[in-house]
């Protein structure tokens, strides 16, 4: 076992003081080198021998991994309002209201038929636990996690993201259309029933 030898004396003190100064001086001189925002797989990521380690964050940032789980985004044009995401969410941060369409609305980008409007499609990012379950159950892959992680808000109400593409008036119109259609169907049904009774 190596014993640490205790050294003392004037010259030892002087040399150790000078070596301390040399160390800080070297850091001072090498301060012109800087860390670069490399991706974690880059071979320089853990290999920064000298220079400043700070990244000026809002201007520079280390790239996030592709499978990182950050802010959710719903591409409402591709959403079929199936409510699966809201059902699987462990913290109930997704609120969806749906209104049946009176006719087919259209197709999503993967060819699924859209039959429901979503007057409300809210995700409360303050509640979200970023587990990513909703993105795995989404049948049309319209609900995705984006690389955005810096979205703090002054007012917590702004943490609720509204993804619906219907204005309240449009939503009201769709509801009335549906009600009217259902009324007509009910009337038709009643008429058919009355006709059968008579016949």
């Amino acid at each position: 076992m190596n014993k640490v030898k205790h050294r003392s004396g004037f010259w030892f003190a002087v040399t150790s003081l000078v070596s301390g100064l040399r160390l800080t001086w070297q850091h001072f001189v090498r301060a012109k080198n800087r860390r670069t925002p490399e991706y974690v797989t880059d071979k320089n990521y853990f290999n920064q021998p000298d220079g400043l380690v700070t990244l000026t964050y809002p201007y520079e940032a280390i790239p996030v991994p592709d499978n990182g789980r950050y802010r959710l985004h719903n591409e409402i044009d591709d959403c079929i309002v199936c409510d699966l995401c809201a059902k699987i969410c462990p913290v109930n941060c997704i609120t969806i209201e749906s209104v049946k369409a009176t006719e087919e609305i259209g197709l999503t980008s993967d060819g699924t038929k859209k039959r429901l409007y979503a007057p409300v499609f809210d995700i409360d990012m303050a509640k979200c636990c970023y587990c990513g379950l909703c993105t795995t159950v989404c049948p049309t892959d319209c609900l995705t996690m984006t690389p955005v992680y810096d979205f703090a808000e002054v007012d917590i109400k702004n943490m609720i993201y509204h993804f619906t593409d219907l204005s309240p008036e449009q939503a009201e119109e769709k509801k009335q259309l549906l009600a009217k259609q259902q009324e007509e169907m009910a009337a038709a049904k009643a008429a058919a029933l009355a006709a059968r009774k008579q016949g």
């Binding site: 850091h27 001072f28 301060a31 400043l52 380690v53």
Partner: protein, 367 residues
């Protein structure tokens, strides 16, 4: 009056630059970036800090001794600032060229201690009081080795006039009234027979004129760190251990004044070190044969070139010392309070006494 205003403006601008440089140097030595946002490379940071301090509420604690509390920052800054009166900035520019400048400086700087005690006592706060006691104990103790080291330089120069001491340390020595027939010898030893009077430059700086003053310079520099409460002697206001020292109750403009006084003290002790030991406003370049570097880099006394060269050399040497102070701060650990007193009374003071003896003998060799 003009000298007062000019010195104040010069001091304020040096302190502003120093506060910024300190943050940048500290950051670079710790692999950080320092201020980057305010102005190019954060250069306006310290200006904005001062503006912020000026806007703050001026709080005087209800239980404080209001007169002492209010007077203390003024006294502290006035004591330090008064020291600048005798500093020769260029060959013919001294705010107040009095013959006993060194004595006056030591005396007026000691007033600082009273201001510190007033601030600590007037705050009516035990921590401020403890901080003030520590600061005062430290400053009073370290005034002894600092004073002895200065005395060694004074003995070699045989003068208490900063301007005369400055002239002695350069090729212009014979231009000073009363020094027309003085000679400088290499290392101050006439027996060597090498006359450096007209060579000037670094060979006539006090640390070369009488090499024992190199030891005196080191002693003075260490003691000056303690006198300005700088690391590694910053126990009274060790920011990693306590909030602040004697100025813990101060805010706003009064704190700005104390801050200014602290940095002015750093500048002043560095200026005194440069003037007494490192050749004052004299150029470090010697005249070598036909290449009269010393004269070229001194300019003409009484003209603009003399003022500019003198100011340039004095300030650049001062900034080297200030940089060293900053570097020491980020290199060495803080001394414990008993180690501090040990260093002062058992190490520096005896060595300083021995240096005075040797300096006296050396003076005999010089004539």
């Amino acid at each position: 009056m003009l000298a007062f205003v000019l010195t104040l403006v010069l001091l304020l601008s040096i302190v502003i630059v120093l506060a910024y440089v300190e943050r940048k140097v500290a950051a670079f030595m710790q692999d950080r970036m320092g201020p980057t946002e305010a102005g190019p490379y954060g250069s306006l940071q310290s200006v904005l800090d001062v503006l912020k301090l000026l806007q703050k509420e001026d709080i005087v604690p209800a239980a404080a001794d209001k007169n002492l509390f209010k007077l203390a920052p003024i006294l502290i800054f006035a004591a330090v600032f008064a020291g600048f009166a005798v500093i020769p900035f260029t060959p013919d520019l001294v705010p107040a060229g009095i013959g006993i400048g060194v004595f006056y400086l030591l005396a007026i700087i000691s007033l600082d201690v009273i201001g510190l005690l007033m601030a600590g006592w007037g705050s009516n706060n035990k921590y401020a009081m403890l901080g003030a006691m520590r600061s005062v104990a430290q400053i009073v103790s370290y005034e002894i080795p600092a004073g002895l080291a200065i005395l060694a330089a004074v003995m070699v120069c045989q003068s208490l006039d900063f301007q005369e001491i400055s002239y002695q340390q350069g090729a212009l020595m014979n231009r000073f009234p009363g020094l027309e027939f003085e000679m400088n010898w290499l290392f101050g030893i006439e027996a060597l027979g090498i006359n450096t009077t007209t060579i000037g430059g670094i060979t006539t700086w006090n640390i070369f004129r009488a090499p024992i003053l190199l030891v005196a310079f080191v002693i003075y520099f260490i003691a000056s760190l303690a006198e300005s409460n700088r690391a590694p002697f910053d126990i009274p206001e060790a920011e990693s251990e306590l909030v602040a020292g004697f100025h813990v109750e101060y805010s706003g403009f009064r704190f700005a004044i104390l801050f200014l006084a602290e940095y002015s003290m750093m500048v002043l002790v560095s200026l005194v070190a440069v003037i007494l030991f490192l050749g004052s406003w004299n150029t470090p370049l010697p005249n070598v044969g036909p290449v009269s570097l010393a004269y070229w880099t001194t300019g003409t006394i009484g003209e603009l070139s003399g003022i500019l060269w003198g100011g340039f050399w004095l300030l650049s040497k001062t900034f080297v010392l200030l940089f060293l102070q900053l570097q020491l701060r980020w290199t060495y650990p803080r001394l414990r309070v008993d180690q501090l007193m040990h260093l002062c009374w058992k190490v520096l003071t005896p060595i300083a006494l021995a240096v005075i003896l040797i300096a006296g003998i050396w003076r005999l060799l010089m004539i």
